[in-house]
Each structure stands twice: as C-alpha cells, then as structure tokens.
C-alpha cells in the first residue's frame, strides 16, 4: 500500500478521471442518439406501417348479412321467405361446469348424442367467448322448455337466425330452385366476395340462382373495436345491410297446386303459359323434392336416396326433360306446308294404313293400321294421320322442316329465367352426321314428320310453340318474372319479350287451328281423353315411342315393361278465339296427358274467372 501511495499523484488521477467523465458523457450521448434515431425510425419513417398494424389489431370490421329478398307468386302469395330458426348456443366463458351443463341440457331438451359430440368438437376449435351451437333447430316446445329453465344455465342462450324457407315445399322447386351453403365452386362465381362476407347461403338453382345478385342484397358492416382476446369492446359505427330485392313471379300458385295435384300419380311435366304475354302460370315436374332439405343441409343418406331414385325426383323435367315430340309437331309442319305453298288446305292423300317413299321402299306405318281414308291438313291433324305427314314431309324436305321448327323455338333455350334449361334438338342432316356419323335418308325425314327420330323438346319449348300457334304467329318468349321490387319501393316491371313473329297467311292458320279444335270436338279426334269441356279448346295429342317396334311387328302395350311404354304428349290452348292459357304436357310411360291437361284448364278457365278481369284481355 505504502509503495503504491508513493505513485499517487492526485493531479494526474483527477485529470485521468475528468477525461474519462467527458468520454463517458460522450458515450452516453451517443447511446441517447442511437435510441432517438431508433424512435424516429419507428415513429416517423415506419409510422404508417405500424399505424396500420395497430388499427388491424384492434379494429374489426364485422359484416352483417343482408336479409335475402323474398319471392312471391303473381298474386302476392309468398313462395320463398326467411323464417327464424332457434338454435341453442353455449358460451364457454360464461359456463361454470361445461360437462354438467351439457348433460343437463341434453336431458332437458332431449338432444341427440350426435349433437353433443359435434358440440365438443367445435368447443376445441372456438374461442372461449364464442357462441357454440349445441342444437341447431329447436322446436317451439324446446324453446319454451329452455326459457323456463334458462336461469339454471347462465352460459346457454337461444339465438334466432334467419333461414330460407319454401312453404310450398316440393310444389314450387322447379321454378324457385333453392339456396344452399356456399361451397368452393360457388365462391368462384361470386363477383364481389366482400358482399358475401357475412352470407352463408347462395342460390343454387332456379330463380334463386338466376336472380342471386338481386335477391342477395348488400352487406352491412359493423366496425367493432376488439381487445387482444378478440372480445368486442364497443361498436364504433355501423352501416346497415340493404335487403335484397323481392321478386314477383308470373306463377299462379293456385293453378300450380292444381297442376301438382293432377300430376300426382304420374312422372312428367306440365307447363301452363299465358299466350298474351309469355307469362309462365304453372310449371310442374313430378315427382319432385322438398328444397328445404337442401337449405338446412341434406344428409348424405337423404341425398343419395333422392339421386338414386328411379323416379328421378331431382330431374327438372319442365326445362331439362328432352322428350321426343311425337305427333304434337304435326300442326307446325302442316302450317309450313300450306304457308310455303307446297300443299293447300284442300290437298289430300289416301291413307291405306302405311306409306312408301317409292314402290321399292320399306313400309312406314300409320298408327292406325287399317288406314284413315282421304286426308287433308285439317283431318290429318284431328286424327293425327301419320301417312299424310309422311307424304307432306317429303314435299317439304328436311331443311324446311328444321327451319320451321327453329322458328317455333325448338332446338334453342327459351331464355326463361332459369339457367339450367336445356335446348332440345331439331333434327337436320348436319346434326345426324355429327351424332351418328351417318348421312340423312328420306326415312329420317319421315320419322321427323311424326316427331320421332332425333327430335327432342322440353315441355317448356312445347308450351312456347303452342303459344305461337295460339297467337297466330306472335311469339312471346317464356317469362317467369312479373316484376322486381327494390327495398326503396321501386317496382321494376319485366316487359314481355317478343321473338321473331312468324308470318304465315290466315289460310294456313285457319285450317290448322280448326284441325286442332277437331282434336277435342270431332268424333274421330284423338283428344277423346280430354272429354267435352265447357269452353273451346284447340289441341294436339302425341305419342312418343320409346321402344323401337320393328317394321312388320305390331306394338302391344302389355308386352312392354312400364318404363318402356310410350310417353304421351299434349298441347292445347283455350279459349280458341282469344286464348288465355296454353298448356304443354309430357307424361312418361302413360297415355293420360290430355286428361291431366283438362283438370288444369278447367280450373283456370272455369273456377278462376276473377283473374281474367284483373289481367284484362
């Protein structure tokens, strides 16, 4: 110590120390500058970035689903509505003993083990403050029972949600379609995904799909401040959702019900149309299915049963059922024959019961093997003489036949407001070559003349063509929508859409329509199944063979299994002078088309008189 003290020089030491104080002060200042620079970097340079991050942290934009627009029939009866369903939800945060609560609720409300299992699965995935559904659809009794006992279960509550409901169930599904949960393929067709931020459902088929953008409405938003745990602290502002537009269909639900009843026992379709504007009044495909199943989520078992049923309930026959037309094509060919001048109304041919193209050709049978004697256009229609039309078709040639069929709307979509419709098929040499790779023979023309061969039409197309005949050439396209009403009270009328008018002379219309009247009223008319109505009707029957009968064989109904029996087709309009309704009927494997049409027409023309007054004429 002593020696060291010897070296002590207070002055030097003080200087060393004071120099160090200066140096350390400089170091401290440098550190302060580093900190400050860092703060400048974060708070000035990166301020925007971190402000956004902070905002994203705490501000949640919660979308609110808009109420879907409603669908009504032409008289304001509701066809698609939003009804509240009650679900039992549990908030884990507020529940003291989860297992005890769930067990008690299960006993109280008789909840299935499946529901409980699903609940526990969700419990693992969701937040503590989320509402987790224990039972999705409660009955009124369950709701009542729960409310009486609610005080025992502090974390449980009944929540009402709006769900689409179709009160007519299977009766209207062929127009309406249905909504279902949005799946992957649906998301691809959503143009504005943000508008669907809160939506769980989307139109899958029919009107629900076609008018999806109008029915859906505009999403609303709630700006919510949330804390780190994700709980909403307060609502900052909200923009109310705008409900979707309401759609009024041209459908007359009373007529639809009658048509459904008339079709009950049959597979097939019936389409009723107003020829004065193209309004579809009824459209039935039977058998059908309840769309409400699809809204709530159909089970695989239920879906497979529908899909695999031999009766094809999912098959919308009115717009997708492509049937051979059979004899209902005949009035159009006769019209074209007279109008083009190939024949006149008086041109006639003797029917021995068969037709030959030339002496060497095979025999083309008339449906009545004994033959029907002398036939002109009118009688050939009323008695549906095949021989006359074999003869006529050779005079017309396939090109004229194809063209006139297209003019009457066959072979192309009608443009009805349902996306799923199919176009049918008009036969032509080109079509045959493409389909079968073989060229067109005269025999094909003959087959076409009786609506067989390649000809395919939907019942809806047949209704449109019938309407053109009823209107003597004026072509109204099929229309399913009367008007659209926006939430702010505007009514957007859907005007009738006209197709290209078919210009044919009165000398063509007159005998053909007379022939169609004879179908019902003449002694030998083929429409005997229609009976004797209290109004004038023009009609044409048809039978489409599904079973190929050999040239020299005789077809016997009892030999053919039920599903291979002939389809019956029927077209009609009434009253004849001022037609108010057009019907097209296709009944699979059963001849009753005309009888079914009678029930529908009687109802419309006899029991619903007030409607005509309303609509004017």
């Amino acid at each position: 110590m002593k020696e060291q003290n010897h070296f002590h020089n207070p002055l030097i030491q003080t200087n060393v120390f004071r120099r160090r104080v200066v140096v350390v002060t400089a170091i401290v200042l440098l550190l302060a500058v580093i900190l400050f620079a860092r703060l400048v970097y974060l708070q000035v340079y990166k301020n925007h970035y971190y402000s956004t991050a902070s905002h994203d942290n705490s501000i949640n934009l919660d979308p609110i689903a808009p109420p879907r627009g409603l669908i009504y029939d032409r008289n304001g009866r509701i066809l698609a509505e939003n009804i509240p369903v009650y679900s039992l939800d549990i908030i884990p945060d507020k529940t003291t003993d989860m297992d005890v609560t769930v067990k008690a609720l299960q006993n109280l409300l008789d909840i299935s083990d499946d529901d409980v299992m699903r609940f526990y699965q969700q419990l693992k995935q969701k937040h503590q403050f989320d509402e987790i559904p224990l039972k999705i659809k409660l009955t009124q009794q369950q709701v009542a029972k729960f409310y009486v006992n609610q005080f025992r279960y502090p974390g449980a509550k009944v929540t009402a949600r709006l769900i689409r409901y179709y009160p007519y169930k299977s009766d209207m599904v062929d127009m309406l379609g249905y909504v279902g949960r949005i799946n992957d393929s649906d998301t691809k067709r959503i143009e504005d995904p943000s508008n669907y931020a809160a939506s769980n459902y989307i139109g899958k088929l029919g009107i629900e799909r076609y008018f999806e953008s109008r029915l859906h409405g505009t999403v609303g938003y709630q700006q919510i401040e949330t804390n780190a745990a994700g709980q909403a602290v307060r609502t900052l502002q909200s923009i109310a959702p705008i409900p979707g537009d309401d759609i009024y269909l041209t459908i007359d639900s009373a007529l639809q019900e009658v048509a459904v009843q008339a079709m009950k026992k049959y597979r097939g379709s019936i389409v009723a149309m107003d020829p004065r504007n193209g309004d579809i009044l009824a459209m039935v495909s039977n058998p059908s299915y309840d769309p409400n199943l699809f809204v709530r989520g159909i089970s695989n078992k239920q879906y497979n049963a529908l899909r695999d049923s031999p009766n094809q309930p999912l098959f919308n026959r009115a717009i997708r059922g492509q049937y051979p037309l059979g004899s209902v094509i005949k009035p159009i060919l006769a019209l074209e024959g007279i109008s083009s001048g190939v024949v006149t109304a008086k041109s006639r041919i003797f029917d021995p019961g068969y037709f030959q193209i030339n002496e060497a050709s095979r025999i083309y049978r008339n449906w009545r093997p004994k033959g029907q004697g002398w036939m002109n256009a009118r009688s050939a229609i009323s008695q549906s003489c095949d021989t006359y039309f074999y003869w006529l078709s050779l005079k017309l040639g396939i090109d004229r036949i194809s063209n006139v069929m297209r003019d009457f709307g066959f072979g192309q979509r009608t443009g009805i407001q349902i996306r799923e419709e199919l176009p049918g098929l008009v036969p032509s040499p080109a079509v045959k070559l493409a389909r079968t790779g073989t060229r067109w023979y005269s025999g094909d023309t003959l087959n076409t003349s009786i609506g067989q061969g390649l000809t395919l039409s939907t019942p809806l197309q047949l209704a449109v063509a019938t309407s053109i005949i009823a209107n003597r050439g004026v072509y109204y396209k099929a229309n399913l929508v009367k008007d659209i009403r926006t939430p702010d009270g505007k009514i957007l009328d859907v005007p009738p859409r006209l197709g290209t008018k078919i210009n044919m002379p009165e000398k063509a219309w007159k005998p053909i329509i007379a022939g169609m009247v004879d179908v019902i009223s003449a002694a030998k008319g083929t429409g005997y199944r229609f009976g004797d109505p209290a109004y004038t009707v023009a009609a044409k029957t048809g039978t489409a063979q599904l079973f190929d009968v050999g040239a020299n064989e005789v077809y016997k109904t009892e030999d053919v299994t039920e599903r291979l029996r002939d389809n019956s087709m029927f077209m009609a309009f009434a009253p004849v002078k001022h037609p108010k309704i057009v019907l097209a009927v296709a009944i699979q494997n059963n001849p009753q088309a005309a009888a079914i049409a009678r029930k529908v027409m009687d109802y419309y023309l006899l029991k619903q008189k007030h409607l005509f007054d309303k609509n004017g004429a």
Binding site: F17, R20, A32, R38, Y50
Partner: protein, 383 residues
Amino acid sequence: MNKIDKRNFLEQWFPSYKIGHHHLSLWERIHIDLPLLIGLLLIIIAGLLVLFSAASEDVLIVVRQMVRFGLAFGVMFVVAQISPSRLKLWAPWLYGIAVALLLAVLVIGYTGKGAQRWLNLGLFRFQPSELMKLALPMMIAWYMSDRQLPPKASSLALAGVILFVPVAFILKQPDLGTAIMVAVAGFGVLLFAGIGWRWLISGAVIIAAAAPVAWHFLHSYQRGRVLTFLNPERDPLGSGYHIIQSKIAIGSGGFLGKGWLNGTQSHLNFLPEHSTDFIYSVLGEEFGLLGGFILLSLYLLVTIRCFYIAYHAQDNFSRLLAGSLGFTFFVSVFVNIGMVSGILPVVGLPLPLFSYGGTSVVTLMASFGILMSISTHRKLIAT
C-alpha cells in the same frame, strides 16, 4: 417556527449545518442535490401519468406506486445523510454481506416465476441481487480508490474477480437482466477509473468469443429471447409477440402520439407487461416521438447531473462511485428502451423511475441518495 428555532432544529438534525458552512443552501445542508431532485421528480411525475394510462386508469395502482416512491424517497433521504467516507468504510462489509445473501438465495431462496431470486424475511421478500447493484460498485470503487489510476493489470484482475463472483451467482438464479446491470455497475467503476482502451477492446473480443460458450449455459427461455430478438417474426404469437406488439405501439404513436389514455395497444391488452417492463411503449404510443424526446432528455439531464457530481467529487471513491451509478442509471434506460423498441433483446429490465414495481425502485433511489451524499458532503480543500 421563528428563525432561531429553525436554526436550532437544523443544527440539531443536520450536523453539517452546525459546522458553519454558511455559504451552503438549505438543500445542501439537508444533503439534497436540488437539480437531481427536480430531474427525478419530473421523470416520476411523467411516469405516474403514463402508469395511470397503462394500468387501465386504475387509481389504486398509481397510489401504490406513489407510496412506493414515497418510501424510496425516504431511503434516498436517509442514504444522502451518510457521508461518502462512511460509505467507503462500509463498502467491503456491504459487499461481503451481499455475496453471502446471494449464496443464501441459491441455497434456501424463494422461487418465483421459475427463478430463485428472493429471500423470504417473514414480513417481506428481499432480493439480494438488488443490494449487489450498490454493493458491487462501492466495493470496486473502494478497491480502486487506493490503487494507482489508471489501474494496472494486477489490480484489474482482482477487480475482475470481485465483479465476477456476484455476477455468476445472479446468473445462476437465473436473472440475466440484473446480472447484466450489476456487471455494468462494476464495469462503470473501471471505466471511470481509466481502464485502458486496449483492455476494453480485448474484453469485448473475449466476450464475443465467449458468446457461443455462454449460449451453452443459457436457459432455453433466454435462448428463445435472443433468437426472438434476432427475428421477432420467428414466433409472432409466442415469444416474438411482446416485441412485435411493442414496436406496433411505439410506431403507431407517430410524432405526437395518440393522446393520453388513447393508446389502443395497451388499453386493449395487445401490449403485454404494459405497466412494467414495456411501459415505455405506452408512452411512445400515447405521447409519440415528442414525448419520447422529452423523456430521453430528462434521463440525460439526470445522468449528466450525476456525471457533474462525479466530476466535482473530491476523492477517488466518491468519483468512481458517482460516475458508475450515473452510468448504470443511463445504461438501464438504454437497455429498456432499446429492448422495447427492438434494438436489444428482451432481458426483462424495468425502465428506471417509470416501471411499476418493487425492489428496484428502492435500490435506485438509494443510489441517488449516495449521489446526493457525494454532491453535498464536499469539503473545502486547499490545494
């Protein structure tokens, strides 16, 4: 109280007053360094304001913090009355006791939050490592004060041992943050003692070389903190969450901040530990760069006042101790703000005079007591 009474009172309680240093102010006679006191009070008031916001406007927490500061000011005041020469006398004893207590902690200490840091003294729990924050710089200053300055290698080596033993004990607890600060306090003495730059540089090289070895001894949560510091996005919802949210809080504050009580990061609980270690982030969010600048300036003023006191201290012990305490104070500010702003790893150190919490406040105010003592116990020495 009339003038005579007042004088008698002061002479009775403050001997220096009686000695007759009539040129000394009242504050100096009660051993309070006024500029330092004002600086401390300004920081503490600002801290209480921010704490009120950080504690979700819970007045009780602010009151509790005020009580704590009140007690700590009492400790400061008492320590300020102890003359530096007496402190020097006590230094080796204090150091010895502190080392013994640290050893006791390792043997019988109370475990909290996974680390053994406390001794349960019945009434309260005591953290010996806090005592070491003062005892170590005092000990090294005591040791250095009689050596040749700048120090020779041999005295540096012994100082190194004095430093290493308690730091190793604290690391063992494990408490990396406190260990670092204790080491900084000891190192501060050497820095002011004029340790050669050669030594500093070679020391830095040795530390850099030892880093992989140290890595081996780090606890997994400490390794995690280092890794997270290097890349917070490594684990954004786990250990990186703190620092990411803290940077968001500070960065979103911008130039003027979101306003007092309007910080969403802290009020909505996105920012963890917002009343303790991460309280600066609350200030940054609510008062912006301007608030940060003002607070940094206050810290600098206090630090520079400490250096001023050291500069004018009259013996080596006082100088070295004062300088080291000021240096340690600022380093702890730097480490905390550096850590919440993402330029240093999260080591779990409070922001001095700001963070809500216990023992460290008392230790800190005791160190300011020492500084005030050094500042006010100057003798007039003729050269």
